[in-house]
């Protein structure tokens, strides 16, 4: 897995609550059997004026100039600023694949849906939860300041504003460690093979019908 340590990146504000995974990557693109190539179709229905289909050359499609990701000042953004319950809906890991493939590495929101939140960590994306008032303030600063950037330090668990303000954030220690080092968590689990077998033996003694 791709590691994440720190980033100084341009911020793009997506000012709406309950952004669901159907919006992040619509269903027709889930037919792919690959993990890559979803970036051009990130937020497809909001970014383009036509209806997207798999295999299109997206550079030729009509764009919705009003959508924030299409605005010139946010080109090259690596940090997505979002509202509450970001990533709600389906478990599709295609959502973080699309965000990552597009070039985003950090998502800051006041809350995330759980499955999406977990999926991010498996793909080198860092989801950061900040309180609603701080998120409100970051939205105001981002929109008021062309070229607004934030510095994100995972090891130190801080977001630093251009004014030098340090905003601390919480992150699960295990997920943090995996993300910092780019660890494959299947490899970590396989260190406990003997414990898994011992567990199965215990279980077999009580709920034997599950092991017929």
């Amino acid at each position: 897995m791709k590691a994440f340590q720190a980033l100084d990146g341009l911020v793009v504000p997506l000012d709406r609550a309950n952004v669901d995974t159907d919006a992040i990557i619509p269903k027709q693109f889930l037919k792919s059997i690959r993990r890559t190539g979803f970036g051009p179709n990130l937020f497809d229905e909001w970014r383009y004026l036509d209806v997207g289909e798999p295999g299109q050359d997206c550079s030729q499609r009509p764009r919705n100039a009003d959508f924030v990701l299409n605005q010139p000042r946010y080109q090259g953004a690596q940090i997505l600023l979002a509202r509450e319950n970001f990533g709600c809906g389906s478990s599709r890991e295609h959502a973080p694949w699309a965000l990552e493939d597009f070039g985003l590495r950090v998502i800051i929101a006041s809350s995330f849906a759980e499955i999406f939140h977990g999926n991010c960590f498996k793909n080198g994306l860092l989801p950061i939860v900040l309180d609603g008032a701080t998120v409100d303030r970051l939205f105001a600063e981002t929109e008021a300041t062309p070229g607004y950037r934030l510095r994100v330090d995972l090891a130190g668990q801080t977001v630093t504003t251009p004014a030098g303000e340090l905003i601390p954030f919480e992150v699960d220690a295990f997920r943090k460690d995996c993300l910092l080092r780019g660890l494959d968590d299947i490899g970590l689990t396989m260190r406990h093979v003997e414990e898994i077998r011992a567990y199965e033996a215990r279980r077999k003694a009580t709920e034997y019908w599950l092991f017929d």
Binding site: P26, G55, S91, A113, F174, T189, V193, R203
Partner: protein, 473 residues
């Protein structure tokens, strides 16, 4: 004596190993696999030189991409969909996994066939690369959706790395009014607590109204626990659970059945167990529900009207409501019963089981789909549901009324096959998500119960199903 919630019992019996910070290796008893979220997991398994840990715990089916028309006998026309379904077939062949493929009589929506085959049993942990795995919590199984990386993790190790959730009890007490169903209960719950209200929680649905429901109804409720943000929904084991499971092909039999039942009876929250959050709902006050917006929490009752964003104080919510109404093409103050529909979809893992089809057919019987309705679809949840419905003559009821009677699959719940809404089309749907574009780009979804969808099909607009009820109670 220590007391425990049902969730705590299920959790603690599956802990393989726990770190000091609560990070837990949790054992998985049943792994359901579909064609959409598994190809990259199998590919990862191969790249890592790994094999599935316990093949017999895996059950696969193709549901999202499959066509629902008779033409499916000739295969899938869309080459991209076809490749995905064939990839599942090939992966199951390669690793020796049981699969109910597109042509198998047992094929169906994964959350319908898990329970109906008895593959889902009380006391299990059940995972699937699909958020609606919550459905199976109706059996007092700890059942939740996972991403593709976790699908690979479970294939490789039979375990997941996770942390314990908080517990919430939603108590629904009292008798449901006539014409009000499980779908209305869960939409009312989501309307109350919001789509993030359950985030971080396992929700146990309890109370006399839940105990009075069939397993089908309980599955509908647990199915939409994810729409309240909860990772899983649960209902305690009772006689209804046991009766449903007896004789199912993969349920234990003989002496093992008796032992299993004795154990399953313990899968209830202890009387004095404490929950981290409690929500109380009065079942007698629930009316038929209809969503008006682009999130399941944007819901009202059939006698209500489209709300006015101007009355909302919170600016983010107000903007969300305005955007939703613009997308839905609705004006504030419009009575719900004045909203005309173009299509009707009766199906999905929420509402495509036999009881759902019976409820819809009861409303439709002897009536006609309104001329203004372009398409009314009934898509059974599985081959078994379809055959049962046909044995009861329900297919004739629907066909005679002008519905199309289709082959099983996820269909227009998310439109990965050809069953979709066109831009601007409005649909009365028994599915679970009314997100923008969910049923087709630009499509407008209103979530309702099967009976309410049937009533809307007949009237051409939303109508209180209670005005069409024929039975005295």
């Amino acid at each position: 004596m220590t007391v425990h919630t049902l969730y705590e019992k299920l959790w603690s019996s599956h802990v393989v190993r726990e770190e000091a910070d609560g990070t837990t290796l949790l054992y998985i008893d049943r792994h359901l696999v579909n064609e959409v979220t598994s190809p990259q997991a199998f590919e990862g398994l191969r790249i890592g030189g790994r094999k599935p840990w316990r093949i017999e715990t895996i059950l696969a089916t193709a549901d999202h991409n499959v066509p629902t028309t008779a033409a499916r006998a000739h295969g899938i026309a869309d080459p991209v969909s076809r490749l995905q379904v064939e990839t599942l077939d090939a992966n199951c062949d390669e690793f020796g996994i049981t699969e109910y493929g597109m042509r198998d009589p047992l094929q169906g929506i994964v959350h319908v066939i898990g329970p109906e085959t008895g593959a889902t049993l009380p006391g299990m942990t059940v995972v699937c690369g699909d958020s609606h795995t919550t459905t199976q919590g109706a059996f007092a199984a700890l059942a939740f959706g996972i991403g593709t990386s976790e699908v690979e993790h479970v294939l490789a190790s039979q375990c997941l790395v996770t942390k314990k959730l908080k517990s919430m009890r939603v108590s629904v007490e009292g008798e449901l009014p006539r014409g009000v169903t499980a779908k209305d209960i869960v939409l009312a719950v989501i309307g109350r607590i919001g789509t993030a209200g359950g985030t971080g929680y396992a929700i146990e649905f309890a109370g006399s109204a839940i105990r009075a429901l069939s397993m089908e109804g309980r599955m509908t409720i647990c199915n939409m626990a994810i729409e309240a943000g909860a990772r899983c929904g649960l209902v305690a084991v009772d006689d209804t659970t046991i009766r449903y499971l007896e004789g199912r092909p993969s349920a234990p039999a003989g002496g093992a059945w008796d032992a299993a039942v004795a154990f399953w009876r313990t899968l209830v929250s202890d009387a004095a167990a404490r929950f981290d959050a409690e929500v109380a709902i009065d079942a007698t006050m629930i009316l038929p529900q209809v969503t008006w917006g682009t999130s399941p929490e944007m819901v009202t009752t059939v006698d209500g009207s489209v709300p006015d964003p101007a009355a909302e104080r919170d600016p983010v919510r107000r903007d969300g409501m305005r955007r939703a109404l613009a997308y839905m093409g609705l004006q504030p103050g419009t009575p719900i019963t004045e909203i005309a529909i173009d299509k009707v979809f009766i199906g999905s893992c929420t509402n495509a089981r036999i009881e759902d089809l019976r409820a819809a057919a009861e409303v439709v019987r002897g009536r006609r789909v309104a001329d203004s309705v372009r398409l009314a679809l009934v898509v059974p949840g599985s081959g078994a549901v379809k055959r049962q419905a046909e044995a009861e003559g329900l297919d004739r009821v629907f066909r005679d009324a002008g519905f199309e009677w289709r082959e099983p699959g996820c269909s227009m719940c998310l439109g990965m096959n050809d069953d979709r809404l066109s831009p601007g089309e409005r649909c009365a749907s028994t599915s679970n998500r009314n997100f923008e574009g969910r049923q087709g780009a630009g499509g407008r979804t209103h979530l309702v119960s099967p009976a309410m969808a049937a009533a809307a099909a007949v009237a051409g607009r939303f109508v209180d199903v209670r005005t069409l009820c024929r039975s005295p109670a």
